[in-house]
Point group: C2
Chain length 395, copies 2
Amino acid sequence: MLNEKNVKLGKVRSSIRELFEYGKKRKAEIGEDKVFDFSLGNPSVPVPGEVTEILTGLLKDCDPVALHGYTSAPGDYSVRKSLADYANSQYGTHLTADCFYMTCGASASLTATLNALLNEGEEVITFVPCFPEYKVFCEHAGGKLICVDTREDDFQIDFEKFERALGDKTKAVLINSPNNPSGVVYSEQSIKKLSKILLDFSKKRGSPVYLISDEPYRELVYDDSIKVPCVMNYYDKSIICYSYSKSLSLPGERIGYVAVNNAMEEWQDVFAGVCGAGRALGFVCAPNLFQQLVARTCGMTSDISIYKKNRDRLCSALQSFGFTVVKPDGAFYLFVKSPEPDANAFAERAKKYEILIVSGDDFGRKGYVRICYCVSPEMIERSLPAFKALKDSYK
Amino acid sequence: MLNEKNVKLGKVRSSIRELFEYGKKRKAEIGEDKVFDFSLGNPSVPVPGEVTEILTGLLKDCDPVALHGYTSAPGDYSVRKSLADYANSQYGTHLTADCFYMTCGASASLTATLNALLNEGEEVITFVPCFPEYKVFCEHAGGKLICVDTREDDFQIDFEKFERALGDKTKAVLINSPNNPSGVVYSEQSIKKLSKILLDFSKKRGSPVYLISDEPYRELVYDDSIKVPCVMNYYDKSIICYSYSKSLSLPGERIGYVAVNNAMEEWQDVFAGVCGAGRALGFVCAPNLFQQLVARTCGMTSDISIYKKNRDRLCSALQSFGFTVVKPDGAFYLFVKSPEPDANAFAERAKKYEILIVSGDDFGRKGYVRICYCVSPEMIERSLPAFKALKDSYK
């Protein structure tokens, strides 16, 4: 009688959210410091002090009617202009304010983009492991998510498998680099190769495949040698979905954007589609106070050096306990091989040690778990004996 | 190739938004004070001073990681508890935190609710004139909006017409009182009658019709004798969609809620449907800072006495110029009879006098225009000669 699909989605919470709720309950039961919660990508590093200062300043100095009033549906023009100018200065693009549509975060960026592009039955290819909600978003937009396995050893794109997945119904390819949950960053070479394949295929087929780049972790890379290439410089029919949740530690405030590459001929149509989809989905405008904030913090990030330390400490500790870990280049996730074939059973067993980690099954890759290391270094230290005991329990 | 429906939605902006954009341009051309912009329900009264104080206090005193972090998908539990307690104290309901789903404003409340209830082809009945986006939201959810005309003289529900519209496919009735654009408030008697018809019809058909009450203007009534009845007290299968945009003058910050009446047997399924729909639409959680705010401002409103003064001044001035106006009980809109049959032509002519008003055609009622009086009293005074000249131009 009700919309059973959505009722089911609401009941079967994403297992990440499920574990997050479990963790909240468990912490209330046995104490905050007794639970080692690696479930959710909720940044542990606070916003930069400047963010609080800017927000306080906006509240103090701005006319509240304008500050809290509606903006244009795609966002405040001057905000979008600032973001375009910053992007151009960083990536050598030629974007304008009119390429930017401000959103309530990355999920909203993705749903607006997918609903702009997809018609019933069209396919979106992504590389697994991937964020589980991609499937939910694609299906709500009438499309189908096609999951292509990445390479066994390093989670990089397997181009042979990818080419086999391209077909008549392929409308878009959705990439996420730095990747949730693997932490992998796609190199310039990979993006070039991907772009060439897409261009050749589009030409041959006579209709374009769009490249959607989901980039909430763009700034979260930990070695100077690692660069996250801007897809717009390699592929014209590209759209960037961005969020400030991770880079500025603002996940609860829901602020991000869609940027449509104006190097493609039909960019204004794509942009109109994003605006129309945003309207139909019930997004009126992105939160104004946080729009104003992000225009004033271009290039600013939280202190991500802590994540680097966390990565290094946790990687080497887990390796020393006997876990198989690929050291990630970015984001704040470790994708660790389960000591038993069933990663769900492993994640369940971890709970007995008060360790909360998400089974990789939910990310489309069996036999792995995701460990979010956007936590306090202290919690990592406290958790290490539990991780050791967990591993030893398999002896 | 793209999703043409959404591209079209993005290009053909809602005419309200269209006029809003025109107004911004026109003000830049001839000066802010020369344009009489009655186009958008953007409150002119600032947030209460306490709002700014509370926001500043939260930024100063709270742990920024918690303050800006993800909440549970339906919202922070303690926030929802506060809202439930407040609702119960006001309306004698027995709601709990688990009945409340925090949203990014009224549009998000509506899309989440409609996507929870509707299956392909099911119908939602509403009374026109109504907010034009209802149609967009229903259609995106796979449903169809059935518009039932209200009474000629006072825009109240025409129950005969309503009963004729009920049918096999009717899934829900969507009401909006105080009403945008007519300003009409449905009396207790009307809500009782509506509820009885729905109950009788549901029984006879053997399946329920849900009542969705869109209430962003709930607090905006201007006479002590006028009460907005709480639908939950009259009809079990009811859902309230609320927003703080108008009552607290926060339209750009996108904060509101869905409240599911736990007096209905299946309320947990309906609530799960709302959560699932929110997830599929790309809403992760409502903005956390503003969730915290609204928990601390229960019952607070901006200084709405200014709107009452505006209503009284504008009503009597327009009547004295010869316009036909029904004095509205609530919201901040006048729905004024067009001096010529074509309200679009009238709204276009008004532009020549720098008056920006929206044709009632967009609200499903021909021959009227909507005038938003949530503007400064000074602008109303300045606009009066223009209104007089506009009316006189029809002599």
